[in-house]
């Protein structure tokens, strides 16, 4: 059995399709935006492991890359960064 790719192909069972953005672009929930200062970041990966949304990608060199389409702006990464390399900046209109 191949897994259905579209709604149309869905069998008559309540089976859901794993989807990035199942709840939409959750980045729109944000009021404050985490911004990484790469010159002070020590690549410790703590922000990556603590992000509840998996919105931080850990690059090959262990530096963080924030996906603003899905980051909800909770501020955990900024609060936990041991060297304060992440600041929360107010979103523009």
């Amino acid at each position: 059995m191949s897994f259905p790719k579209t709604r149309k192909e869905m069998p008559l069972t309540p089976l859901s399709l794993p989807t990035v953005g199942s709840m939409g672009k959750t980045g729109s929930w944000r009021t404050f935006k985490p911004v990484v200062n790469y010159s002070t970041c020590t690549k410790c990966t703590l922000c990556w492991i603590y992000c509840p949304d998996g919105a931080i990608t850990r690059r090959e060199d262990d530096s963080p890359e924030i996906d603003y389409e899905y980051c909800k702006g909770c501020g955990i990464c900024a609060n936990e960064c041991p060297v304060k390399a992440i600041t929360m900046e107010r979103e523009e209109e």
Binding site: R7, M10, P14, L15, S16, L17, P18, T19, V20, G21, S22, M23, G24, K25, T26, W29, R30, C44, T45, L46, I49, Y50, C51, P52, D53, G54, A55, T57, R58, D62, D67, E69, Y70, K72, G73, C74, G75, I76, A78, N79, E80, M88
Partner: protein
């Protein structure tokens, strides 16, 4: 002890999910997948996680998962474990993942039955100390003094000690965890996976929406829960109790932070009087006297 950098990059909780910003249980879920990968079969009853899964026909979970009635996680996991065994798919770890209401209150009988039948699975209670999904009613795991919508002046009763109830089932492995200590949780999950029988892990998972604190403080509050000793990290392996780092350094009361530091960060405790705070502190100290005796004796739980 595994280090954070050794954990895999793969994500099986996909971004764009429905949890509130700063959700502690979501961090715990990501850690579950970091520890066990995708060779798992999850059983999830009604709880916040059902919402985090996303609206049909889409889901944020990239692993097999069966939703079940609020009270039936243990029974369902038993059935799934039996089916996998019969089909020879025993490399798949069955995981029951339920909230505190679904565990310490309504799911306790199905879980107790599964443990008594020695069902081969890991049961995880992620404890946000209330019925979060339905708007924050008190549960048996809500701590003394906490505000919820059904305890408007603070809960008058104490939190149920679920890990010890599970230890009384003589299962091979019981542990506590908190997502603020990621490697401790991952180690416990990996250890549990290798043990046959019923394994129970109780995870304190701070919830900004229910506990009323700023969403950036989730990890900090979990850390304070451990540093003040209101939450202790331990394992009970074949009945033998052992404190884990950093709780093993906190047996001496002078090493623990005063509980007031933890309580004053959360609005759910805002109304507490000094006398009530003192009472909570006294109970914590009593618990630790018990932990000290257990950890230093040969006796089993």
């Amino acid at each position: 002890m595994v280090s954070i950098k050794e954990l895999p990059r793969e994500e099986y909780l996909l971004k764009g999910h429905a949890a509130c910003a700063g959700c502690g249980p979501s961090i715990a879920l990501r850690l579950l997948f970091k520890a066990l990968g995708n060779k798992v079969f999850l059983v999830v009853p009604a709880c916040c996680t059902t919402v985090i899964q996303g609206p049909y026909p889409y889901t944020s979970f990239a692993v097999p998962l069966q939703n079940m009635l609020f009270e039936a996680t243990g029974a369902t996991a038993s059935g799934i474990a039996a089916a996998l065994r019969i089909r020879g798919l025993e490399d798949i770890t069955v995981v029951g993942w339920a909230g505190d209401g679904g565990t310490v209150d309504i799911g306790i009988q199905a879980l107790s039955g599964a443990a008594e039948r020695e069902t081969n699975f890991i049961y995880i209670c992620y404890d946000n100390e209330a019925y979060g999904n339905t708007g924050l009613q008190r549960s048996g795991a809500t701590p003394y003094g906490a505000w919820t919508t059904t305890t408007p002046t603070g809960k008058k009763e104490r939190k149920k000690n679920m890990p010890f109830i599970m230890a009384a089932h003589k299962i091979p492995y019981v542990a506590t965890a908190c997502p603020s200590y990621p490697t401790d949780f991952v180690n416990k999950l990996r250890k549990a996976k290798e043990i046959k029988g019923t394994k129970y892990i109780h995870v304190l998972a701070p919830c900004p929406t229910g506990w009323r604190y700023d969403s950036s403080k989730t990890v900090e509050i979990g850390r304070l829960a451990v540093q003040t000793g209101i939450w202790a990290l331990y394992e009970i392996e074949n009945g033998k109790f052992r404190l884990n780092f950093p709780s093993d350094r906190l047996v001496d009361k002078a090493k623990r932070k005063p509980i007031k530091e933890y309580l004053s960060m959360q609005e759910r405790f805002r109304h507490l009087t000094e006398a009530e705070i003192e009472k909570i502190q006294m109970w914590i100290d009593e618990d630790w006297e018990y932990y000290r005796k257990l950890a230093s004796s040969e006796a089993c739980v």
